[in-house]
Structure formats: C-alpha cells, structure tokens
C-alpha cells in the first residue's frame, strides 16, 4: 500500500502541470483534492477557483492544471477522499522550473543562430547564473527538502528571465 503521485511540466506549456496518480494498492476513494501551497502559505489555484484546492476525479488517473504564472517551489499535497473523509494524503515539495528552462532553451536557440553570443561575457554570465539557479532550486528540494531556499533561487531566476533586455 502506497499513496503517491508524480508531476510533469511541459516546456511547450510551462503554465500547466500534470499530476499522475502512481499509488499502488489503495482502498476505496471517491475523489482527490490537490493543494498547491507557496512558501508564504498561500495556495495557488486556476482562475475562477474559489477553494484552496483543485478537484481531481477519482476516475481520472491524471490531472492537468493550468495554474502557474511563473516558476514556483510548491508544497504539493494530494488528498484521496472517501466521501468527506480523508482516506490518504501525500505531500511533496517540488520545484517547477519550466519558465526558466524554456527561457534558457530560447537563449540556446538564439545562440545556435548566432554563436558569437556566447562570447558576450554579460550574456554568458547571466545565462550561466540562470541555469545554476534552476539547478539549485531542483536540488534544494530533492536533496534538502528546502522549499524556502528553492523559492529564493526561483525568485532570482525570475528576475533574470523576466528582464531579458537588462541581462542579455
């Protein structure tokens, strides 16, 4: 018996995350609830949602949620509900770095078209810093379960990809 889930985020659509139920041997449940909690305690939900959670039908093995407006390190909690009771719960801290990685990818496309860009020290330093911050955010949660540190890295990364004219 193990309740569990995994998440994916596509570079083609970093706004969305897909959560897949990877549980084995669970008993009966009637629905699932997903909570995406930021480090400040706020929950993020899709536009128009009035609850802190997102509903996930029991019949669906996965759920795609269009919810991210930037990169976040989130405490993702899934609750398997049996009626109004919580049958199982599982929480994982995850860094969602799709926006940064998409930005890096677009920079690399620009590099490929204009290899001289890599010789621009300002450009190279900023790009390398952004890549390091993404890596840091991933590793802080995967190795140290440190959502706060990861979010700090992603906040710095946000500055680097949301102000391209300043850094590249």
């Amino acid at each position: 018996l193990a309740q569990n889930f995994s998440t994916t985020q596509s570079l083609a659509d970093p706004e969305s995350i897909t959560i897949t139920d990877t549980s084995t041997g669970l008993g009966a449940f009637t629905s699932r609830l997903i909570y995406l909690q930021k480090i400040n305690g706020d929950y993020i939900v899709p536009n128009g949602t009035v609850t802190d959670f997102i509903e996930w039908a029991a019949a669906d093995s996965s759920k795609t949620i269009e919810v991210l407006d930037r990169d976040y390190s989130l405490l993702v909690t899934t609750k398997w509900m049996n009626g109004s009771s919580i049958a199982y719960t599982k929480s994982i801290i995850l860094s969602f770095t799709g926006y940064s990685r998409l930005f890096l990818l677009n920079l690399t496309r620009a590099n490929a078209a204009n290899p001289k860009l890599l010789s621009n020290q300002n450009y190279f330093t900023s790009k390398f810093t952004l890549r390091t911050l993404v890596s840091d955010a991933d590793e802080l949660v995967s190795l140290a379960n440190d959502q706060e540190g990861a979010q700090l890295c992603l906040d710095m990364a946000y500055q680097l990809y949301s102000n391209p004219q300043k850094f590249y």
Binding site: A12, L105, T108, A112, A113, R131
Partner: protein, 179 residues
C-alpha cells in the same frame, strides 16, 4: 539535419566538457596561449538546454539545430569523446586497383600454350596501347611476318607458326604507349 543522434551528442558533450576542463587546466598551468576558460561551462550550459528539449519533446523541430550547435562547441575533444564511448569512427584503407606497371619484361616461360597460340594472359593490360620489343627490337623493325598479336583485351599472343609449343627462347619488353 543533425548528422549524429541527439543522445550521442549529449554523451559526447558530457565527456568533452570534462576533457576541456582538464586540458584548460594544464594549459593554464603552463601559462601558454589563448585559452577559453569558460568553454567547459559553455558546453555544459548548452548541453543542458539540449537535454531539456530532448526530454521534453524528442521530436522537436529544434533538436537538430541545437544538437549541431552543441557539437560545434566540442572540438577538439570530440573525437576523444567518441572514442571513449566506443562510437569513434574508423577509416578502412582503400585498396587501390593496381594497373600494369610499364615497361615490363617477359620471357618464354611467361607464355602458356592454349592449344592454338602461346598466350601471355594479363587482363590488367586491357585498354592500354603498348609497343612490344622482341629481343630488343621493336616489332615494327622486324621484317614481315608479324609474330605477335596484341589483343586489346586479354594479353599478348604469339603466332604459333613461328613459336611452336612455347619452347622458343625469347625476351620481350612491353612498353606503354601514351599517345
């Protein structure tokens, strides 16, 4: 299109990155020449973007562009990286077609009796124009009849009327005529 598989490029760039790091460290220690100290970081940086895209969409139309770009950063370490992964290419030596080397000398023992003629068989001569010197005389200097037949295909044939059974001792020099 990318000449190599993206998965191969990713592996080679990982190795090239490390080889570049070692090489640059040695060069800096020796204080010599122009060195791009950031090259390993550049390879690393671009390889990660390539990996991101490859993981996200292995059929992306941009993979070839990025793959070619990443591999362009790897020389002069690329061949060593390919060799390290067992993917290094090899060049099979070509086997040249050996034509006939002129001039060459024949004696009676080089001819065999084919039942009708004495024949020196050498298809490598096919297509060559040759001049034949019998006992150091050009055939053109000998009085008629002509003792030899050179067939442009197969070799040289002696007229059996004059050289029966291949027993006649003789020396023949064959030279190529390049006109």
């Amino acid at each position: 299109m990318a000449y190599y598989d993206i998965a191969d490029i990713i592996e080679w760039s990982k190795i090239s990155q490390g080889l570049a790091e070692v090489d640059i460290t040695k060069k800096l220690a020796l204080g010599g020449g122009f060195v791009d100290k950031d090259l390993p970081k550049k390879i690393y940086l671009e390889r990660l973007s390539l990996e991101d895209l490859y993981d996200d969409d292995p059929t992306s139309e941009y993979l070839d562009l990025l793959g070619n770009f990443v591999i362009s950063l790897c020389p002069p370490y690329l061949m060593a990286a390919q060799a390290a992964t067992g993917d290094g290419g090899s060049v099979s030596p070509s086997t040249p077609t050996q034509g006939t080397i002129y001039p060459f000398m024949l004696s009676a023992s080089d001819f065999t009796w084919d039942g009708t003629n004495l024949a020196y068989t050498n298809t490598a001569m096919d297509g060559d124009n040759v001049i034949i010197f019998v006992n150091e005389f050009s055939q053109q200097w000998l009085v008629a009849p002509t003792y030899f037949t050179y067939k442009n295909g197969g070799g040289i044939f002696l007229d059996a009327t004059y050289f029966p059974n291949g027993t006649t001792p003789l020396t023949i020099i064959v030279q190529k005529l390049n006109s």
